[in-house]
Symmetry: C2
Subunit: 331 residues, 2 copies
């Protein structure tokens, strides 16, 4: 299966009625603060609190009957886990999720609440999650659902881009940068494919946390760069070692330059989303909005509204944040 | 002008393109906790962070040219102020807002940020806001925009009910209680009028904070009861002395019994909305969800989904909350 615009459209048909069509929000006071229109795709309002449900549903709903009967396995520190867990339950399938024992407590609890079996491994102690997962999958014939480097997952996550294309057009914005919170690049590449076919005037750009800007550097060098550290950002949801084998060529062909924001900027964007948009974002889900507020995009979008500069679109990709971290952002 | 279903439909035409069509959200984990489907109309995502913008726009957009040229005046502790301020600015009108000096700091700051002139009065010290407002209005020929006891405001706020009717039908719910956060009854009566015409199987019910249940008691006694205290709830947005002269007969004719929740229940509903729906609610905007989670409605709605009991719809009416209060709800 080739991840392309047609694949995104096919995924959209499978997702119809199963996923939320999230709103594209705008706040006059946020526009004034940013000096331009900032349109925010509130994907935190998606089922399970992040865009990951789209990719999970896309992948699981395309499995054959034998695969469905055996079930699926996924590795995830959180949002992908919840997406796979709920999709599996609603499709009547078994799901086993391999999670690091130091993942946010809320994400582990939610994954179990959605009906999945959680297998914890000791990330800090160096336990090999691949070996654990491979053992479980081989024993029970489970199908591995990758978080981003999978054509069906990319296509499913790209359905968010189809909605952005329609909603931006309705808001009078036909040329702008679309900033996407980026980990392994599944979401960014999927959105880029959707925009290529549905709104050629909109250009996807990945946004990453400082110190974990593997995609931004890879887009500059032309090859898949690797981060120096495996973890250490509050933006845990989007920390990955490097862009994917499948996602990177798509991003290289379609995306504008990457953007990088600090943890402090991500927290400030969470506070802005709380104050101005009334949505809850996790740090990793707020980096695109942080970049939009920092003026980090040079789109050729249309001005208007309360903003004076060019419009920008930021995808608010997830809201699964522990209350203590959220309180820190507000403080 | 008679506040009826036709008036709500006319207001919807004036509001088209000016207000946000807010989503009707649902969370599988929230359904499980409640034991039934809980559909949440996320009106906190409306412009200015509450449903008040609908009524303000409805009223201001129906003024004649001479009234528009002179401008408007409103009394409000917050949400109505912001709604009138933004509607006036977008319609090119002057707005003067009379606010108590002890209103939440965020609401005063926002009202000014939307371009309105704020005239503060000493509520705790007993200063007469009516006299202040009358003086300002007489001097400049301003039109008073009441927060709820006005047919145009009621009709405008009722447009939210038209959306609920359509969205509930799309979600497979045709018989259910629709719980509405209730102060003076403008929102509740407007939603009730909309449902009467657009979804007769849906029944509006007012929800109030304990100690300020004037509407619930009025629906029982058949006359407009008055609260014992003028203030003293964290649900400041929906504390009014009694139901309105115009709103009460509508509620009496169309609404089911009123529901009452405690401040603690309102705070818990804010936390549930944070965790499960990723939306920000203020205490007064969370009382309907609090009642839904407390099992306080006896709708004849349809079961299904993760919930086992009958479906209920809760309107989440506003999200303008100071960070300290929000942190308290999460703690």
């Amino acid at each position: 299966m080739t991840p392309d615009f047609d694949a995104v459209c096919a995924a959209a048909r499978r997702l119809e009625g199963a996923a939320v069509r999230t709103p594209l929000l705008e706040s006059p006071l946020l526009n004034e603060a940013a000096g331009r229109r900032v349109l925010v795709k509130a994907e935190c309002l998606q089922l399970t609190g992040s865009f990951k449900f789209r990719g999970a549903w896309s992948r699981l709903s395309a499995l054959d009957a034998a695969q469905r009967a055996r079930g699926v396995l996924a590795y995830s520190s959180g949002n992908h886990a919840q997406g796979v867990a709920l999709a599996a339950r609603r499709l009547g399938m078994r799901a086993v999720i391999v999670m690091p024992s130091d993942a946010p407590a809320l994400k582990i609890a939610n994954t179990r609440a959605y009906g999945a079996e959680v297998a914890l491994y000791d990330r800090a102690g160096g336990e090999d999650r691949e070996a654990l997962g491979a053992r479980l999958a081989a024993r029970d014939g489970l199908t591995l659902v990758k978080p981003y480097d999978d054509p069906w997952v990319i296509a499913g996550q790209g359905t968010c881009g189809l909605e952005i294309a329609e909603q931006a057009h309705a808001a009078g914005v036909t040329r702008a940068d679309v900033l996407v919170c980026c980990g392994g690049g599944g979401f960014t590449s999927g959105v880029a494919l959707a925009l290529e076919g549905a709104a050629p005037g909109l250009r996807a750009r990945p946004v990453e946390p400082a110190g974990f800007d593997d995609t931004a550097r890879s887009l500059v060098s032309g090859r898949r760069e690797v981060n120096a550290a495996p973890s250490g950002s509050i933006c845990d949801a989007i920390v990955t070692p490097s862009p994917g084998e499948i996602t990177f060529p798509i991003m290289r062909r379609l995306c504008g330059p990457g953007l990088v924001v600090s943890d402090v900027q991500a927290l400030a964007a969470m506070a802005a989303a709380f104050l101005r948009l009334k949505i809850v974002l996790e740090p990793g889900g707020a980096v695109a909005l942080a970049a939009a507020l920092a003026g980090g995009a040079e789109g050729e979008g249309e001005g208007g509204g309360e903003g004076e500069g060019e419009a920008v679109i930021a995808v608010a990709s997830g809201g699964n944040v522990d209350p203590a971290v959220f309180a820190r952002a507000l403080g």
